[in-house]
């Protein structure tokens, strides 16, 4: 197949599309290919968007409308479904719980992960390799293996069925990844700066907190994005540890709303609940999509 010989433009940053060049001599083959390309790409985009858009639309419907046809538009914008989901189905509480746990959990993960990584990367002490190995080996173990004893340990430490407790457990299980990633990051930072800081009399903590930690910021952001997403996603740990509905996180609460028996089943509230759990993520993502994508890709490519 022939490719045309349009002169090559200077390489643009990957995340940005090349500016469309008007009248740049397309061949017939090229146009057909272009149609195919866009055809495939648009199909997948539709596959992604339609279930989500359908969910948002369904959130405005009544039970009757939901049962009649998946395509019919809601008879009215029934914001009441959202109020119903937020208060009666307690999606609001689950949402707030999730934000609390993920915020606290990420902060703890980063604080502990960075400290361990800094020490392991920058200090030669007996057992350095052992500490590093101990943390990193945790990445290879499936969490399932731990859940039975963890369930009882968390109960005896009063970490179970509590929001801060869940955050502590999240942090502990995210440490291997954070240490693995950040240790590599701290190793790449120049030593000259910390030397200078010591000469200025900063001390160990001062050098770490005031000089090195700010330098590690890009790494922390990358790890932070991974950790936030991972903790937002968690289902297994809250399912095991949070036994009271007032401590449920969003994923768990929604699943509970969808499958648990003995409740007044309200379908439209389920869609409204789903929408409530999807939209904020979408908004945050659209606002920071460059950073989020960049951070995640960097994390995965490392």
């Amino acid at each position: 197949m022939s490719l045309d010989t349009t002169p090559r433009a200077p390489a643009a940053p990957a995340a940005r599309p090349a500016p469309p060049g008007p009248g740049d001599g397309r061949t017939v083959t090229g146009s057909v290919l272009n149609v195919f390309t866009h055809g495939f790409l648009l199909t997948w985009a539709a596959l992604v968007v339609i279930p989500l858009a359908w969910c948002v639309m369904s959130a405005f419907k009544t039970n009757d409308e939901l049962l009649s046809s998946p395509w019919s538009l809601p008879g009215a914008l029934r914001w009441g479904n959202f109020a119903d989901a937020w208060t009666n189905a307690e999606i609001g509480r689950y949402f707030v719980n999730t934000v609390i746990v993920v915020t606290l959990g990420t902060a703890l993960t980063l604080a502990m992960g960075a400290t361990v990584s800094y020490v392991v990367a920058r200090y030669a002490f007996r057992g350095n390799r052992l500490v590093y190995f101990l943390f990193v080996v945790g990445m290879t173990f499936p969490t399932f293996l731990a859940i039975v004893p963890l369930f009882f340990i968390a109960q005896s430490l009063r970490l179970a069925d509590s929001l801060p407790g869940l955050a502590v457990v999240y942090a502990a299980y995210n440490l291997p990844f954070a240490v693995f990633f950040l240790t590599a990051y701290f190793r790449t930072l120049p030593t000259s700066l910390s030397e200078a800081a010591f000469i200025d009399g900063c001390g160990h903590w001062g050098t770490y907190l005031r000089i090195m930690l700010p330098l590690a910021r890009p790494g922390l952001v990358s790890v932070g994005i991974f950790v936030v997403l991972g903790q937002w996603n968690q289902y297994l740990l809250p399912l095991i540890l949070q036994s009271s509905p007032e401590n449920y996180v969003l994923a768990q609460g929604l699943a509970n709303l969808a499958v648990s028996q003995g409740y007044a089943g309200n379908w439209s509230a389920l869609f409204a609940g789903l929408t409530i759990s999807i939209i904020p993520v979408l908004v945050v993502y659209l606002s920071f999509q460059r950073q989020i994508q960049g951070g995640m890709v960097t994390g995965a490519l490392k």
């Binding site: 349009t6 433009a9 397309r26 992604v48 457990v169 994923a251």
Partner: protein
């Protein structure tokens, strides 16, 4: 070493190591022992029964069904996700090749990248609830409603043994593909453009370019992605637990049962904690086996550029 180094090391590591030791290492370590007991998790009493739980595993049909389903997930999810990810990434990357920009992305690439990435940000359990409604077996579900438009009778996606598990695998693929599209386009755009230019001048077809140049050059990324996907595919817990029968039975009739969910049911519904941890150990072995196999299979000549 500097003065006070040791004290700093000790104070800095104390809390993280204590927490990690108590909450992560200790449960892992205890599991191996618990798997050798008949503990029911309801009383402190438990009897050491040696390898009885493992002997029971070998005879347990549901266990083998679960292993098989995990193996299917590990084979299918990475294969399909990587294939689709590479396909769409190539489309985005070289789609506009013949036009201006020398392989710098199709028109609207930024929009595709934003849209494709989005499912990756949703909680798997939330996606599971969403797709339970998408897969509604009557005509009022999204999927059956769409099939109805072209005259296809509603399919009982999650209620039939033939379709339930593939339907769940499809959901995982749905939410995974986007991230790998982004990952691979990033990897592709780090390939120097002259390489493509040279190939173009040599008259290489797109297909050849992809197989002979693009793929080998981003092979490291694909390999890491495959292992990462495989490890995640060994999980399947959230999706099965949410999308199979109420209470996450792995139904219909164990046709969607996976090790994670079987472990969960065995421990937290049947109160067989000793047996459940034996399933956990089996899951660990499967994970290690996968990692070893993947590393061996994906070893290839590195292409430097």
């Amino acid at each position: 070493m500097r003065a006070g180094s040791l004290r700093f090391v000790v104070t800095a590591l104390a809390v993280p190591i204590l927490l990690y030791g108590v909450l992560v290492i200790s449960p892992y370590a205890q599991s191996f022992y618990i798997s050798l007991t008949d503990w029911n998790g309801l009383s402190p009493e438990r009897t050491f029964i040696g390898l009885d739980n493992y002997a029971r595993l070998v005879r347990d049909d549901v266990f083998w069904i679960s292993v098989w389903h995990n193996v299917i997930a590990v084979l299918v999810i990475p294969a399909v996700t990587l294939a689709l990810g590479l396909f769409f990434a190539t489309m985005i990357h070289v789609g506009r090749y013949r036009a201006r920009g020398g392989g710098r992305g199709v028109r609207g690439a930024a929009v595709y990248r934003i849209v494709y990435f989005f499912p990756h940000l949703l909680s798997i359990a939330v996606v599971g609830v969403l797709f339970s409604t998408v897969y509604d077996p009557t005509g009022s579900g999204l999927l059956n409603g769409a099939l109805g438009l072209v005259g296809i009778e509603p399919v009982n996606w999650l209620g039939s043994k033939d379709t339930a598990y593939p339907a769940m695998l499809a959901v995982i693929i749905w939410l995974s593909v986007g991230f790998y599209v982004i990952l691979f386009t990033s990897a592709m755009s780090s390939i120097p453009a002259d390489i493509f230019e040279a190939a173009r001048l040599d008259g290489t077809t797109r297909w050849q370019t992809f197989w002979r140049m693009t793929l080998p050059l981003i092979w490291d990324t694909v390999q890491v992605a495959g292992i990462y996907l495989g490890i995640h595919a060994l999980d399947m817990f959230a999706i099965v637990n949410v999308m199979s029968a109420a209470g996450g039975s792995g139904g219909p009739d164990n046709s969607t049962q996976v090790l994670g969910n079987y472990l969960y049911i065995t421990a937290f519904q049947n109160s067989e904690f000793g047996y459940a941890t034996a399933i956990g150990v089996a899951l660990l072995l499967l994970t290690l086996a996968f990692a070893a196999a993947a590393l061996r299979l994906t070893r290839r000549e590195r292409v430097e550029f």
